[in-house]
């Protein structure tokens, strides 16, 4: 099996199970408070890391390129409380614009 299909099947099965944990498995049970707290903190840690890698990583190098303009536009849009789609459009447009003129 190719790496692509292995990833599709394993990530797919894993995600289906993760999404089912609450609605199917836990329903009315409660996790230890401490575990619950740590699980909830995974999202900000991973999303922050993704912002960094999607903005500055190029393979194993840290680079400054047009993506930075996209992130800057995204931050401005978020601060202005723009809806999600507008944030995404602003990020894409700013990145494309900087690429066009540089």
């Amino acid at each position: 099996m190719s790496d692509a299909w292995t990833a599709v099947l394993v990530v797919g099965a894993g995600t289906v199970l993760l999404k089912s944990v609450g609605p199917v498995g836990v329903a009315h049970r409660r996790l230890p408070l401490r575990v619950d707290r740590l699980l909830e903190l995974i999202a900000p840690s991973i999303l922050a890391a993704l912002v960094v890698t999607e903005t500055f990583a190029s393979g194993r190098s840290l680079v400054l390129d047009a993506r930075l303009a996209g992130v800057a536009a995204g931050i401005v849009a978020v601060v202005l409380r723009a809806p999600l789609w507008a944030v995404v459009v602003a990020g894409g447009a700013a990145t494309a614009l900087v690429r066009l003129v540089s």
């Binding site: 394993v10 990530v11 903190l41 890391a49 993704l50 993506r67 978020v78 990020g91």
Partner: protein, 213 residues
């Protein structure tokens, strides 16, 4: 459910465009069109899918790609737990409906708050699923004709999407501290580790929560 569809309607074009860009990205990472569409239909989680194809496309191993994606989606366990009590019906029904949980459907339906509405979640989830899977199909099939996704700034669009999803997560000092530490860990590790590993390592930042709890 109708209200959910209405709430999510402005997001549909973005979901479609992001789906298309994922389809293009997947092709550049040597995914077949069918594999890309199957992934969107079953995994239905943008950031994890992008992480998977990014790691594989950058030459990281399949283990690193899967680990990064599953760690990204690990948040769906606590997210699901916050809304578990509002799901009704048989196990099969709850299992199927749980698949429509994504960051956007959960957030727009008021997840984690007392005013959470499961029907809004399902409406938003359905619409975004259709846009995401349809967009993926178009991107994966027309990928070669569309060309390099980065030329359109779609990589910058994804970076901005993560900024928005992260901003929604920064609801307390502890969570902000965790995000800052996670970002620093990732930045420090990028030059010294294969793609995917910095994202996994950044989860160590949750230990900040232990100190502050």
């Amino acid at each position: 459910m109708r209200r959910g569809v209405r709430v999510a309607a402005p997001l549909f074009p973005a979901a479609f465009a992001l789906g298309a860009s994922f389809g293009v990205l997947a092709r550049t990472a040597h995914f077949g069109a069918v594999a890309a569409v199957v992934m969107s239909a079953t995994t239905f989680a943008g950031s994890a899918q992008v992480a998977t194809v990014s790691v594989l496309g950058a030459g990281g191993g399949v283990a690193a790609a899967v680990a990064a994606a599953l760690l990204l989606n690990a948040r769906y366990a606590p997210i699901g737990i916050t809304i578990a009590s509002s799901f009704r019906g048989s196990i099969l029904r709850r299992f199927a409906q749980a698949q429509l949980v994504v960051d956007e459907s959960w957030a727009l339906a008021g997840g984690g708050t007392p005013r959470f509405d499961r029907r809004v979640l399902l409406g938003v989830g359905w619409l975004l699923w259709v846009g995401w899977v349809g967009g993926t199909a178009v991107g994966a099939l027309l990928g070669q004709a569309i060309g390099d996704p980065s030329a359109f700034g779609l990589d910058g669009a994804f970076a901005a999407l993560f900024v928005a999803l992260l901003a929604a997560q920064l609801t307390s000092r502890t969570r902000t501290a965790v995000a800052v530490v996670g970002a620093l860990i990732a930045a420090l590790l990028i030059p010294f580790s294969p793609p995917g590993v910095p994202i996994i390592a950044a989860t160590a930042a949750v230990l900040v929560g232990l100190r502050r709890a």
